[in-house]
Subunit: 239 residues, 2 copies
């Protein structure tokens, strides 16, 4: 028996009991988030906006990927961006320089974006004019995975510098994502990393996830990512 | 006025009010954690164990850093390791191969280690025989920063592949750390990253933090990290 809380349980059971109340509260927060996410989803549906939630560790290259994507596609589709960061508007300024509309959300103590924050940011966009809304989440490979924002697709950006085993060690965020972009492929020659094994780990965690290997820096592999986006935008506008 | 919750506030104020109840609950969880952390701290003090909490993004090289550190120092100090991971015991197995005692904590849904988890793991070590206990936290540059484990020092491992601006974008975890190890310096020649600016950003956020540039892979700069550890172990044993 653990004398810390006197709950009478031991080992993992004990840990579970201690966490029980915390988990109940979390479930309430998440249930509220999920309802607001559905409202966002309804807005995206009504306005034919493809919403893409980009999640990753810090420094995986999400902003560089967006800069290049916007530059290459802005002549054929109207793009908006919501930038989530704990602090600073550095990423928003980089995106603004590409000439598209961008809204910054500073989450301060919070480790993820939530549906309520997105809802407030949406009022700053002319949704009727948008084809794609990219939501760059806070750099965190765990917490953003629990918060539905109402997006159509969640895309994980995984830098090969992080090592091949991240899908196994952080499975939650890969489990409910539809595409993994394995980024920084330009560095493959300088690292001891097995990128094929990394992709096989993604599919072990989530057999339905698509995967693309890219370099947002050199442009390698980006054409397939653009095709993916074009296809999803076309499908969104079909109905 | 926001029609989502009808609170009557707008903008950032509105967000604050919505988050208010959530924050109150978080504060209770943290207050409980802080008390248990002090109990751990008391145990480390009583047993002259230097406890070092290693925090970072996923894939910054914490485990590689520990492998090399243990291999190079295990003849002069007795080392134990607590491995925190959301899933898998991959890192624990790597550490076990160095010949030291290691305990794995799988946090499952949790995004950080907490003082209670550490307390339970401590029972698996012979603290009287340990000089240093390394606690490798879950890879996450936000949440572990809020949870005191009772450690003597918190050390941030920051990979230069993440870009120079991470201290500004994720200031919380740097604010209460005493040392930043700028890792993967062997890749500096292949990246467009300004490592001097990165170190200046660390000191802008936390002027009292020490910084060392290292490569856990090649061993570059590791001697100064070892000196830092030797000095802290000696000081712990002085009293």
């Amino acid at each position: 028996m653990c004398d810390t809380c006197g709950c009478g349980a031991t080992g993992r059971d004990h840990q579970h009991q201690v966490e029980h109340r915390e988990i109940e509260l979390e479930e309430k927060v998440l249930a509220k988030n999920d309802r607001l996410a559905e409202r966002n989803r309804g807005m995206f549906e009504a306005m034919n906006v493809l919403a893409v939630n980009l999640v990753s560790s810090p420094g995986s290259g999400k902003t560089t990927l967006l800069e290049r994507t916007i530059t290459d596609l802005k002549s054929e589709m109207t793009i908006g961006v919501i930038e989530g960061d704990q602090q600073t508007d550095r990423d928003a300024k980089r995106i603004e320089a590409t000439g598209v509309n961008v809204e910054q959300i500073n989450t301060l103590d919070a480790c993820h974006l939530d549906a309520h924050m997105i809802r407030h940011s949406l009022s700053k966009f002319s949704l009727a004019e948008l084809d794609v809304l990219f939501i760059e989440n806070v750099g965190n490979l765990i917490c953003p995975g629990a918060f539905d924002l109402g997006e159509d697709f969640r895309v994980v950006v995984l830098s090969i510098t992080e090592g091949e085993d991240k899908p196994l060690k952080y499975p939650g965020i890969f489990l409910d994502s539809q595409l993994v972009l394995l980024n920084k492929m330009d560095l493959a020659g300088f690292l001891e990393v097995d990128t094929d094994q990394c992709l096989s780990f993604v599919n072990r965690v989530n057999p339905t996830s698509q995967t693309l290997s890219v370099s947002a820096k050199t442009g390698e592999g980006m054409a397939l990512w653009y095709d993916w986006l074009r296809q999803k935008v076309a499908k969104k506008n079909e109905r």
